[in-house]
């Protein structure tokens, strides 16, 4: 059932994202040709439009994350979604996975577009040499190299998910009110952000007074880095769990469809 939910969520969102991605990549290729031909004015226009498209992808990814949750689950479509024989968990998880995939895909497409535009004289040999250098550094690190990449990827995914789940928690908490839900969601967002900042400041000052930095310093270079990464991963996992359970509680106990 999770797979089916994900499938329909992709169907609902791909029709917006894919044309945008396609337009950006195509325009980047055109820009590359314009640069190569040395046409100044068309190049500037092309670059501007590309920048606008990049901004549009960022905005659309965020807006669709909000909209897929608030409309598909908490709006009229919710009458269908919440009467499907699936658990509330799958509803939240499917939405979060699809949203996270679009954030990652959007980032990849933007990186690709910049690469296409910036690499005026793209040297494949040089690119390969650069890549092999990166792999060499990782190989020098031994088993640590693979571990760092894994930790980095896990951290990245969790960071995106914690952001997405924060948005879901804020929107679900707005169900407590009958009206002005959008404004209330934003209020919750500001509230959570402030509390997050205070907690962070408190933790940092706590870590200092508990000689945490000295403890970390005493470790070997790679071990200290791993401990550092694991702390970040654990913190993000905790944040994800908190927002997930707020969302789950609201959707299963306080559902209030429009």
């Amino acid at each position: 059932m999770l797979g089916k939910l994900i499938k329909y969520d992709f169907m609902a969102t791909a029709r917006t994202f894919l044309p945008l991605y396609g337009a950006l990549i195509a325009l980047s290729a055109v820009n590359r040709v314009l640069f190569a031909l040395g046409l100044a004015v068309p190049s500037i226009v092309g670059t501007t439009v590309s920048s606008i498209l990049i901004a549009a992808i960022c905005v659309v990814t965020l807006v669709l994350t909000i909209q897929r949750f608030s409309r598909n689950l908490l709006g009229r479509e919710g009458y269908l979604m919440f009467t499907l024989p699936v658990s509330v968990d799958w509803l939240i998880v499917s939405k979060a996975i699809v949203s996270a995939v679009w954030f990652i895909a959007g980032g990849a497409v933007m990186a690709l577009s910049i690469l296409v535009m910036a690499a005026r004289e793209f040297d494949f040999q040089q690119f390969l040499a650069g890549l092999s250098e990166v792999f060499q550094v990782l190989a020098d690190l031994g088993p640590h190299g693979g571990l760092f990449i894994t930790e980095g990827v896990i951290f990245g995914i969790l960071a995106i998910l914690s952001g997405v789940l924060l948005i879901y928690a804020c929107i679900s908490l707005s169900m407590l009110a009958g009206r002005h839900r959008g404004l209330l969601s934003f209020g919750w967002f500001v509230g959570f952000t402030i509390v997050g900042q205070i907690l962070m400041a408190w933790l940092i000052s706590g870590a200092r007074s508990a000689n945490f930095i000295a403890w970390l310093d005493a470790m070997k270079g790679a071990t200290a880095a791993h401990v550092f990464m694991l702390i970040f991963i654990a913190a993000n996992l905790l944040i994800c769990a908190v927002f997930y359970f707020i969302t789950r509680f609201m959707l299963s106990r306080k559902l209030n469809l429009e």
Binding site: M11, A12, E77, T83, L84, P85, V86, S252, R253, L255
Partner: protein, 232 residues
């Protein structure tokens, strides 16, 4: 056999407002039941509780012996008051959607009903009138071989000619071992198809009876009795 739907002292409050107050009700299999009451009487609240869209404040509601959950949702076919289909989908997409999620969805039955009403499979829901969308939704709901059909105001938004088609669709498609609950205030239209009626007012059941009993004992139609009970 246990009733397909049963409520015991079911109560739901929204803040200081009581929507349902201690409702005791059993819906038996094989019956078509009219849930009748004026606007704001608690009909939709009862429907939402039965679908697990809201949770009771106190008391309990069981579907097929279980509290609303994944199991009950697999055996209940619900038609809400609102149009709940995403407008980016085509008729063929929503058919696929129902087949994917409901094991009891009968594709052939849905296709034949769509054909009867001349609704195209490639037609996007966006371009349909509100009435046509409501018909698509009713077809999807009635094409399931469910144990309990909960229809909230199924004829409220359509013209009288379509009402007859919808009612004959309901009668022609429900399974003999299933129950149908129709909530409405358009009683004269649905009266002819009902086996039982439940009158609800201010969140309380004020009368629960078979239609035959009303006709024989009270000597009046359900519509006439409704007007008498709910006289303003």
């Amino acid at each position: 056999m246990n009733p397909i739907l049963s409520c015991e002292q079911l109560t739901k409050t929204f803040g200081s407002k009581t929507a349902l107050a201690g409702v005791d009700l059993n819906i038996e299999r094989g019956r078509i039941v009219g849930l009748l009451g004026p606007n704001g009487s608690g009909k939709t609240t009862l429907m939402k509780l039965a679908n697990g869209l809201i949770t009771p404040t106190s008391g309990r509601l069981l579907i097929d012996g279980e509290a609303p959950g994944t199991h009950s949702k697999a055996v209940v076919s619900y038609l809400p008051e609102v149009t709940y289909l995403a407008d980016w989908m085509r008729t063929s997409d929503v058919l696929e959607f129902f087949r994917d999620f409901y094991k009891d969805f009968d594709m052939e039955r849905a296709l034949s009903m769509l054909k009867n009403l001349g609704i195209g499979l490639r037609e996007p829901l966006r371009s349909m009138s509100k009435g046509t969308r409501e018909k698509v939704q009713l077809i999807l709901v009635m094409a399931r071989r469910a144990s309990l059909y909960l229809l909230d105001e199924p004829i409220g938004g359509v013209d009288p000619a379509a009402r007859d088609y919808i009612l004959s669709t309901i009668i022609g498609n429900y399974e003999p071992q299933s129950a149908v609950v129709i909530s409405t205030h358009l009683i004269s239209d649905v009266e002819k198809v009902l086996d039982d009626v439940v009158f609800i007012n201010n969140g309380k059941i004020v009368l629960s009876s078979t239609v035959d009993e009303i006709r024989e004992v009270k000597g009046m139609s359900v519509d006439a009795l409704f007007r008498e009970v709910f006289r303003c």
